[in-house]
Symmetry: C2
Subunit: 213 residues, 2 copies
């Protein structure tokens, strides 16, 4: 077998160098560049840089929210698992309500998915929170509906639901009308838990080996 790179610092450095060499990053400000680089690093696709949408203040709002101790509300356990806890600046709680015992009955009552019903359990923590959606379009749609009905807005919505039914549409709705929240989202069908977690990690800390940006 041929030799391969084993040094974690060298792997990070070479990865980020490749991303910076291949991806079109010039339209991002420094804070959003960190997010874009981390997202690309998480999925191995430099071309997603061209499909990112964000509100101008999203990265700053997300960083300030985390620094202030805001909770991170996740739509599934995979997103929660991908968040690097030691990087969170204020021991921020990472919350996933999908497996809460109240969710199945609420989903039945509402005639929707468990992922959407789980969003209702975020109510008391939603004001100024960081929301990370990496799986379910229905969770993002449902959150937007709740914001329409007057629920408090999160600081930022990291919109990365994935798939063939509702993913592109829910993110388009978020980008079209963010309802008072900042947002970072990947347009189209692509997305996923690794990207949603990477977005949180990018807001929480600079890139490994790159120091403060």
């Amino acid at each position: 077998m041929r030799p391969y790179e084993k040094d974690p610092a060298a792997i990070y450095a070479q990865s980020f160098a490749t991303v910076r060499a291949e991806a079109r990053l010039d339209r991002f400000d420094p804070a959003m560049q960190v997010v874009a680089v981390r997202l690309i690093h998480a999925c191995g696709m430099v071309e997603i840089a061209d499909r990112l949408a964000w509100s101008q203040d999203a990265a700053a709002r997300g960083r300030a929210a985390l620094a202030g101790g805001a909770p991170v509300l996740c739509d599934c356990e995979m997103v929660a698992s991908g968040i690097i806890r030691r990087s969170l600046p204020a021991g921020n709680p990472v919350v996933c309500t999908l497996n809460d015992a109240a969710v199945p009955d609420r989903a039945s009552a509402l005639g929707t998915t468990r992922s959407a019903a789980a969003v209702d359990l975020w109510h008391d923590r939603l004001d100024g929170a960081v929301v990370a959606i990496g799986n379910a379009p229905t969770a993002l749609f449902h959150l937007l509906e709740r914001l329409d009905s007057g629920w408090p807005a999160p600081a930022v919505i990291l919109g990365f639901p994935v798939g063939f039914v509702g993913a592109a549409e829910s993110k388009a709705e978020l980008v079209h009308e963010p309802r008072g929240a900042g947002f970072i989202a990947l347009r189209g069908r692509r997305g996923g838990s690794a990207m949603a977690a990477a977005a949180v990690n990018a807001l929480a800390a600079p890139l490994p080996g790159e120091g403060d940006d």
Copy 2:
């Protein structure tokens, strides 16, 4: 806001119908079709069907291993989080050793990553196991080196490390010389925890709503 699909069964059905309509699935036998459909569903990209590589017996070996109670060995917690436990046919243990207390020292001693060092803790469970790698190329490289040195072969290696340094190379090495294991892998830089978990879920159970295939 426009109406959107909220019924979980309808979402699954519409998703899988879209995948079957758009992806080139004719080169897969029925068992591998289930794997391919689940992988595509997990990432939102029908074109990955064209980059999958697998050994002829991989799906059968993986299914038999799970039915026989084999453990699922994961390179990171995100993969473990994505495995649908209730679908596993024999209450199979899902094992991730990355955060074992022995791992940092072992990584330093070996001069490699924690992900690679964590593979060494699989030794006693490796024979006939289902291995799911969704993050670290070094974990896959290291496993292949251990197999070269005579460690027992897993039933199947689900090879989905992602990224810019070693991901494509480690999967190429697996496909070139699987060292007695069955394999399913996505060539190139793409991959990730969601795909690795989806591959396990596909071996564990038929597609939701599609019954036994």
